[in-house]
């Protein structure tokens, strides 16, 4: 037996339809490049500031727009991009914009092979997968949650006002607050889906965090 190969994929179109490939980019879906030999792609949360939004469907590599810290409540950062070092460009993920929304096929993972557990989406401070002390993961005095809201959409679309408290959703932070991407303990040659966004609470102090997104599973 051997480890499965995971493809981390995202929908680059405004069409809310499932991935039809068997690993790698396919149709409207692109793949997040993961590599230890070069600079991997990163997920960029941006927009909402003076210029409101970064251009779409692609933007210049390294482009950022300030976001907003609200006076009360939380403010969902309006745009997510995948910044590609290989293509030297930023790809907008349109279905992840304007969250929370009911889009279902936003981000996904294609499993080529067999996983003998669920696939768990987690966020940590760094690649030691051991701490969640960053303010974006530990939250604030008045908002003791991770700012990263994620919901499983493999089986159904989320509600229009979903957040980390919703059914099949979490505020991503470490092992205890992780997301089951299928809800079943076997995944084989198939894709699982989720949606996510970052919501800035009113009392979050200025920070420049770069937590990591990780996927945990078992195989034979």
């Amino acid at each position: 037996m051997a480890e499965p190969i995971l493809s981390f994929i995202y929908n680059f179109s405004e069409t809310d339809s499932a991935y039809a490939g068997s690993g790698g980019p396919s149709g409207d879906w692109k793949e997040i490049n993961v590599t230890s030999s070069g600079t991997p792609d990163i997920k960029v949360y941006t927009g909402g500031g003076i210029h409101q939004s970064v251009e779409t469907p692609t933007a210049v590599y390294g482009r950022r727009e300030a976001t907003i810290r609200p006076v009360v409540g939380t403010y969902p950062v309006p745009q997510i991009y995948i910044e590609s070092t290989i293509d030297n460009i930023m790809y907008h993920v349109p279905l992840a914009s304007g969250q929370p929304n009911t889009n279902r096929y936003v981000f996904g993972v294609y499993v080529d092979g067999l996983i003998t557990s669920d696939l768990y989406l987690e966020m940590w401070d760094d690649n030691t997968f051991s701490t969640t002390d960053l303010p974006t993961l530990s939250g604030t005095v008045n908002y003791p949650n991770s700012i990263f809201n994620a919901v499983r959409t493999t089986d159904s679309a989320p509600g229009s006002s979903w957040n980390g408290d919703s059914s099949n959703a979490v505020y991503l932070a470490g092992y205890e607050n992780r997301l089951r991407l299928k809800g079943v303990d076997t995944i084989q040659n198939e894709a699982v889906y989720y949606s996510m966004y970052a919501a800035i609470p009113w009392d979050l102090v200025f920070t420049h965090d770069q937590p990591i997104e990780g996927y945990r599973y078992l195989y034979i």
Partner: protein, 150 residues
Amino acid sequence: MDKRIKPIKNLDAVDGTVYGKTNKVNMVNPYKSYFIVQYNDGTIQKGNNLFDTGWGKVKDGVLSLKYKLSTGHLISIPKMSGYLPTIEVSESIEGFKLFHAIHVNCMAHDKILKYKIILKEDNISRYKIGDIIVSESNKGIESSQWKMSA
């Protein structure tokens, strides 16, 4: 293109180290950690590594099951009716892969015993590489990859 990613950067022959913001993790070298099965007729079968374990080639009639870790640990699993080992791993979209543990599911009379072999150690966890945590489960695990004892 081989899309399998390296577990950590600067992996050496013995183990590898991941430096975090406040923590440091040492992990076994997954290329040099494998199972050893002995059969009733005295023959011995070695696994490959933690990526391509080779468990699918193991036959029924297992007399003993051991794990050799790159750190030198040799871990013997007690005699049970059957075995189903799984590997627990995390991948990050930054291209890192961290091996947490080997979960050896063991078939006992009316339950499943799980021997969790720790593959990493850090400044926070009380467990060290080679430690074994035993737990019990009444939950059945269906798989064609159970290998029965002699």
